[in-house]
Point group: C2
Chain length 286, copies 2
Amino acid sequence: MSAVIIDGRRVAADIRTEVAQSVRDVGELAAPRLAVVLCGEDPASAIYVRNKGRVASELGIRFDLRRPPATSTCEDIVTLVHGLSDDPDVDAVLVQLPLPRQIDPERVIDAVAPEKDVDGFHPTNIGRLAEGRPGPVTPGTPAGCMELMRRYDVPISGRRAVVIGRSTIVGRPMALMLINADATVTVCHSKTVDLPSVCREADILIAAIGRPAMVDASYVKPGACVIDVGISSTDTGVTGDVDRASVEPVAGWLTPVPGGVGPMTIAMLMRNTVALARARRRLARV
Amino acid sequence: MSAVIIDGRRVAADIRTEVAQSVRDVGELAAPRLAVVLCGEDPASAIYVRNKGRVASELGIRFDLRRPPATSTCEDIVTLVHGLSDDPDVDAVLVQLPLPRQIDPERVIDAVAPEKDVDGFHPTNIGRLAEGRPGPVTPGTPAGCMELMRRYDVPISGRRAVVIGRSTIVGRPMALMLINADATVTVCHSKTVDLPSVCREADILIAAIGRPAMVDASYVKPGACVIDVGISSTDTGVTGDVDRASVEPVAGWLTPVPGGVGPMTIAMLMRNTVALARARRRLARV
């Protein structure tokens, strides 16, 4: 027996098709509009933003790219974000991270209006998730992991889930989503003692560490669902946090890298854009 | 060997003394003012509010009790809370729960200004806690549990903590605080399978279930710190979630009921009131 390989590309394509249909439904008057702030010259960020723009235009979402100079002050970016938050023709606002060093990312994230916060990172939206009453959007990468498990019928309720990593972007919201889905959830991180044995308790193991191929078969309970959120560039190409050759014979499900979680992030971003447009227009009609 | 019994009454008294000193420091111009909304005729709520008022006045905190009628609409309470949130002479706003059935508690909690949210339940404040960057106040009961462990030198970083219960008021913020304190944290709840064996992994076990004496020695790893948040009224008096006679010989530390976590809740509420007053006045001076 070898793990079912979860095909993130196929699921992401399905979601994009669903989103394109929703865009047509919601866009009777005007297509949903996603504003993206890209500040600085980080080459990886430039590629991510280009890919987001490409998918948006394929799905009929208006993509409004703002490129403030790398020398911008925190006040400049906060003012820009406030302007986009106040613009009635903008449905969704995304600030591409990382920002240049002189800019405090928390101040910028807090400046996005919660009802346009397409990444779901604003404290009010994370708070609703933490209270078990999430709003229309939740952070795209962990939401993508949940969606992959749902579409592959991975049982979640009552199962033990272990999340390795406690970042604001992945680990923490992932744990909250799994709690809300009735899993018994453990959060591990750099201070965890004997990580492999904690991970072997998991029916669902989420690796969001950022260390190439760290998770081998010694971390995996036979039959477990292993979701690999890591993306590292190595000499041999893009590698996840999971050692696929070691884990595939043991796991019940496995997301490959590339082609697993990665494609889901942009698909969920597009879905979030439409969800915000839908929520705003419904409100505006009342 | 028998568990160290954590004396919540003593620690709460120490905190009240510290708070009274802070009140004098912060109150040069005017004492901190805590507004409390008590709606309805719940007898337990009336007792809690009376106790809060008594401690507040002992510590020099102004206590401003509002008693809207039990027939109030949700709009009535939201309007009242907005008024208190806008009043420059109010430092802290507390809405006593539960509210009468016709009132949506989430709408009311969302109406408290985050900078006056003395219970720390507003989604923005829970979100900051969930993101690992808590504001000046966090929910009183779990914050009280953390304070008890700190004052009894219970090791937290790198230890395994298990929280039983995922309420908004205790379980969820408790788990977030323990993650932020570098514990490896597991959240259990009604859907957890084989709860005793999961609990036996814990160096720190937090019982916040509300079922009298459910946690016996079979749930406890020898030497663990057991924090009992439960308060149930039984024929034989007030009882926690922990079966003390069974657990005391096994645990390393144990909070008794009564006299453990209970007294901490009001003490932390008073500390939160002063923290908000301090934060607001510092801002007002800038």
